[in-house]
Symmetry: C2
Subunit: 310 residues, 2 copies
Amino acid sequence: MRKQWGGRRNHIMGFSSRQTVIVGLGLMGGSLALALRPYVEVLVAVDPDPVSREAALARRMVDEATDDLRAAVQAADTVILCAPVRVILSLVRDKIGSWMRSNTLLIDIGSTKQDICEAMGKLPIGIQAVGGHPMTGKEVSGLDAADPFLYANRPWVLCPTRRTTPAARGRALALLESVGALPVEMEAVRHDKVVAAISHLPYLLSASLVATVRRFSENDPGVWDLAAGGFRDTSRLAGQDIKMMSDILSTNTQAVATLLAMFRVQLALLETMLISHDETQLVDALTPIRQARTDWFTHYERRTNSNGKH
Amino acid sequence: MRKQWGGRRNHIMGFSSRQTVIVGLGLMGGSLALALRPYVEVLVAVDPDPVSREAALARRMVDEATDDLRAAVQAADTVILCAPVRVILSLVRDKIGSWMRSNTLLIDIGSTKQDICEAMGKLPIGIQAVGGHPMTGKEVSGLDAADPFLYANRPWVLCPTRRTTPAARGRALALLESVGALPVEMEAVRHDKVVAAISHLPYLLSASLVATVRRFSENDPGVWDLAAGGFRDTSRLAGQDIKMMSDILSTNTQAVATLLAMFRVQLALLETMLISHDETQLVDALTPIRQARTDWFTHYERRTNSNGKH
């Protein structure tokens, strides 16, 4: 699945842009501005919040900052949408297509891809639209946390749309290479299932666990005092930003519901063995699970520690 | 619930022992040996494994190491059972009671307490038996990882048994104080429910999550390549030692089944809101969950960083 372009890097035309517009000055947009700076003649940020705009200008992250989306994208050859999924969706559906020039590259960083890629497919012919999802982030959000290496050596999923020409794909790959990301190309439907499994399901489990302990604590508040490292890790995702998560979950309902159904089966299997005191079966069931986790973790550590090797 | 004895420490008679026997030379027993060394005239380890015994002697962790449980406990005034739950159970049920002298303190470190405390309650009158569960550990196990500060500033649950006289309780508290642990006293039934909520339920969720992704990967092996930090934390417990976990789960079936039922309700509530696209309700439900996690984490960080303040 992974296509790492290191070996072929000479065959990708380097990314360059006369005017790149980044829509949304949060952690992701700000980090992209810092990372893309060397490759772009004029870097323009669009954000409705004057405080963010002023901060980006004061830190010289961008050349211009405006709330006039139309004027900005009219002059752009590259537009990157760095906003929550449904903001991206409304931008793609309602406005941007008619304002952009032909041959402009449009890419986004939304966490779910099916709706966005479908909307991109309906843009005017000539717009070079590619769906994107960089698999990176930080515990903290906002422009202040922006980091030029946020994307380095992290997977960045690219999903084709009906407006993804070979040229569009090439420019998107070049953009990813310029920020050090590892391109992973897959269909939007498949992407949404994968992230439901590794990200949205874990979030719902984490939140439901905290909800359970919270309910338990109504009878025994002392439970919080004994919770330690195991609970800390399993519950961490429940602390994620709720607006962001509800935005993501609501645009991936079907895949999430499917994964929840699969999860219930697995949990019920373990529970059955436990309740029936069938311990041999329980150990037999847990053994490949533990092995899968250990194998993945070894692979993950190797992957995340292999800086500069993409 | 927490009784921290710092303020009253002068009222606890300091721990001292002529002969302390530690049964089981793993991480927990080895660490206890290192921590108790200054308080004990003769420290004896009992372990069936000659390699562990020789290692403990070579490192001067104990004065004697033997596989003769009977001879060791006959001469002891303090016996600490540092073994898996069901090994502890069989020791308490089958043998140790008739061998120990009257007034010997018997304490254990088993992860579930109801069965053990019940068995301790049937020991001959005169045995001073107290159930124990230190809430500490390491990623690695075994004698090589032994650490004299493993118990310092970590909660150590004490559960009364029918053989817990006021003197037994006082000696157990003194023992805990000598290794720097924070005593938390509660009934065994309550303990087992609490650990089902904060430890056994999270383990089963973690294992079921990995089982789900494993099943998913049969159709799409690429899922492993995109799993990152969120999956890493939520799945960590699935990597725990299976023998240990099946031992723990099998001696806490009822509490675990209750918590699983509570969990299913909470998960179903979130799923209903998600599938019905009732986003206001979803956000309203997730808000106090996130708050509970944030509040707990602040409290937890303060607690675990307050070294030397117990």
